[in-house]
């Protein structure tokens, strides 16, 4: 059941961000890697800044407070894909 999958950010995985035009660079000291991302990835990471585990639905709800995300099911599907990509990069961990 993907609905119960939880994600979290580890304090040790903090990144340094730098915006260049509409691209955001994320430097991740722990891996020494520089990632290039675009919206909504930085915003998704921001929602996990407190380190507490959160589900896709919770992240979606938090984002809707500041952004218009359109059809919830589509938005959540997209958020889930981004989260799994971030897990593969090691910026977000399964909780």
């Amino acid at each position: 059941m993907t609905a119960t999958k939880l994600y979290r950010r580890d304090g040790a995985d903090a990144v340094t961000a730098c915006a260049l035009d509409d691209i955001v660079l994320l430097y991740h000291p722990r891996s020494g890697q520089t990632h290039m991302v675009i919206s909504p990835v930085p915003e998704i990471l921001d929602q996990l800044a407190d380190g507490a585990p959160a589900s896709v639905a919770q992240i979606h709800d938090r984002l809707t407070r500041s952004f218009d995300l359109g059809v919830p099911d589509d938005a959540m599907r997209e958020i889930a894909v981004h989260l799994d990509a971030l897990v593969a990069l090691g910026l977000v961990r399964p909780a």
């Binding site: 340094t16 730098c18 260049l20 509409d22 691209i23 660079l25 430097y27 020494g32 520089t34 290039m36």
Partner: protein, 287 residues
């Protein structure tokens, strides 16, 4: 090793050892204006050694190595010994230098500000820097521009300029034979001749300056100019840097600052003369 020379270029000191006298003699002559301390502690050791004992004497072939080396580096003919020494020094810088962010770029300075030019081999960045260096600019380097991690300044690394194929005659005609090295015919990159930078460029090789313009030149196309987005500049500069990853967060901070503060243009040009006119115009108009 039988023959050796210690040489200072910009901030780096090289100890070059060779199994044969010729490469060292050529280096000593062409780098006559550079510090050649007898008894110095070197940052890097370069070794030009035979691929085997037989190859020291019969069809001599040079294996280029040193503190940092590539196991699969192709051996070179002894007649290209000068190129081998240059490649050996480049290899040490590319793989071992950590005191600045290394950009595969040429650079020249005017009025205390630096123009940085980066591009693939054949883009014209070397020739352009060499020509500008004869026309009122200070030549700072044709291969590596060193970006200072703290101040954001560009530091010179004015080794010999490596000119290839058609660029040889263009530059030799301008600077005269006395400042040209031997013709190295039919190397892996075609014909190569080295040019000695002007004396004042060598004398001031310890002095950096702040960058004011970044160009991505492209030789052999109809004249054109376009803006480059910051993210693309960042990408291209990380690809043009051999030590970006090794420097970690300080490298990231220095490079993002460079990208955010230095205006950039891509320029296409059909000839060196047109390129120089474009560069001078962009330099006047820079913001």
């Amino acid at each position: 090793m039988r023959q050796s020379l210690t040489l200072r270029i910009g901030p780096a000191t090289f100890r070059i050892g060779s199994a044969w006298p010729a490469p060292i003699a050529e280096l000593a002559r062409l780098y006559a204006a550079y510090p050649q301390p007898i008894d110095a502690i070197a940052d890097f050791t370069v070794r030009l050694q035979p691929t085997s004992l037989v190859r020291r004497f019969i069809r001599p072939s040079i294996f280029i190595t040193g503190d940092h080396g590539l196991a699969d580096a192709a051996p070179m003919s002894l007649s290209h010994g000068l190129l081998a020494a240059e490649m050996g020094m480049n290899l040490q810088m590319a793989l071992g230098w950590r005191r600045h962010l290394l950009l595969h770029a040429s650079s020249v300075e005017k009025d205390g500000r630096v123009l940085v030019m980066t591009g693939e081999s054949g883009s014209g960045k070397s020739t352009l820097a060499a020509l500008l260096g004869e026309r009122g600019w200070r030549f700072m380097g044709d291969e590596f521009a060193l970006l200072d991690l703290d101040s954001g300044a560009i530091l010179p690394f004015p080794r010999l300029v490596s000119l290839k194929n058609r660029a040889i005659d263009v530059v030799a005609g301008e600077v005269g034979e006395a400042r040209m090295g031997p013709l190295l015919a039919a190397t892996a990159k075609g014909d190569i001749r080295h040019m000695v930078p002007r004396r004042d460029a060598v004398a001031r090789m310890g002095k950096g300056a702040m960058p004011a313009l970044l160009l991505f030149p492209r030789f052999g196309h109809a004249a054109d100019m376009r803006a480059v987005r910051q993210a693309e500049i960042f990408m291209r500069l990380t690809q043009a840097s051999t030590n970006y990853v090794a420097l970690g967060e300080p490298g990231f901070a220095a490079l993002t600052r460079f990208v955010q503060h230095v205006p950039a243009r891509a320029i296409d040009f059909p000839t060196g003369e047109e390129a120089i006119a474009m560069v001078e115009r962009l330099w006047e108009e820079r913001t």
